[in-house]
C-alpha cells in the first residue's frame, strides 16, 4: 500500500496496515464530528506514527500513484473538518 503525506512524500506500507489505518481514520472522523479536537490530534498523530514506523520512503525512481493521500502533517482542526468527514480519507 502506498501512502502519501501531502507536502512530504510517499511511503510504502505493508498491506496489513490498511485495516489499522482505516480504523484510525474512522475514529478521526468521529472525533471531528464530535468537535473533539484533542481526540482528533491524538488519532492524527497515531496515523502519522504508523506511517513513520512501518513505512519506507519511495525512491525517486519509483513513480507510483498513492492508494491513500493524507493531508499535510500540520493540518489544523479547522482544515481537518474538510478532510475527515463521511467515510474519511479511506472509504470503507
Amino acid at each position: 500500500m502506498i501512502v502519501r503525506i501531502s507536502g512530504e512524500g510517499q511511503y510504502r506500507l505493508p498491506d496489513g496496515d490498511a485495516d489499522r489505518l482505516n480504523e484510525l481514520d474512522n475514529r478521526a472522523v468521529s472525533a471531528v464530528e464530535d468537535g473533539d479536537e484533542t481526540g482528533f490530534k491524538e488519532l492524527w498523530s497515531q496515523m502519522l506514527e504508523l506511517v513513520a514506523s512501518d513505512g519506507n520512503g519511495l525512491d525517486d525512481d519509483e513513480l507510483l500513484e498513492s492508494d491513500v493521500i493524507l493531508p499535510p502533517r500540520d493540518i489544523s482542526f479547522e482544515e481537518a473538518k474538510g478532510e475527515f468527514s463521511g467515510d474519511g480519507l479511506i472509504p470503507d
Binding site: M1, G7, L64, S66, V68, G82, I90
Partner: protein, 253 residues
Amino acid sequence: MPGMGGRMSTVIKAKINKLLDRAEDPSETLEYSYQKQMELLQNVKKGIADVVTSKKRLQLQQQKLEQQVVKLDTQARQALASGREDLARTALERKQFAQTELQTLDQQVAELEQQQQGLIDKEQKLRSKLEQFRTKKEVIKAQYSAAEAQVKISEAANGVGEQMADLGLAIQRAEDKTETMRARASAVEELEAAGTFDDLTQLGGGEDDIDRQLRELTSGAQVDDELAKMKAELGSGGGDSPALEEGDKEGSA
C-alpha cells in the same frame, strides 16, 4: 481498499486529471508534463519570492518593535521618576504588548524560513521525479509491447502527476499562510499609525481607545510586577538612574 477518499485525495485526483487528461498517448504526456512543470516552476519561484518579501517585512517590524520596547521601558522609568505612575503603567502595558507581538513575529519569521526551504526542497524532488520519468519511459518502451508500455507509462505518468499536483497544493498552502501573516503585519502597522507606540510623555494623561484595547490584550498582573520592580529599582537606585531628562527637575527622592 480502493483508497482515494477524503477531500485532499479528491483535490489531488482532480488536479492530476487536469494535468494528464489531455494526452491520450502517455508518451505525449511527458511533453505536456514538462510544460506543466515549467508553469509550476514559475509558481514555485513566485511562491518563494512572496515568502521572502513577507519575511523581510516581518523582520523590519521586528527591528522596529525591538526599538519600541527599549523606548517604552525608558518612558516608563521617566514617568515613574516624575511621579506619574499612571503614565508608567500605560507605557508598560504598551511595552508588554510590543513584546508579545515580537514573540509572534519571531515564530512567524522562523516559520517562513522553513516554508522557503520546504518549497525549494519540493521543487528539487519534483525535478528529479520528472527526470526519472523521462528515463523510465524509454526503458519501458524498449522492454514491453506497445500495449503494455502504454499502461506502464500511464501509471508512471500518474505517479509524476500526483507529485506535481501535491507541489501545487503545497504552494497554494504556503501562499495562504503568507497571506495571513501579511494581514497580521498590516494590523501591527495600523497600530503603529494609530500612535500606539508614540511617545507617551508627550501625550499627557488620559486614556484612549488604544489603551482600553491594550488593557484587554495584556496581563495586568505582569504589568503590576514590572511596575513594582521598576519602583524598587528607582527607589533603591538613588541618583544614578539613567535617562531622567524630565525627572531630574524634581530630583530623585
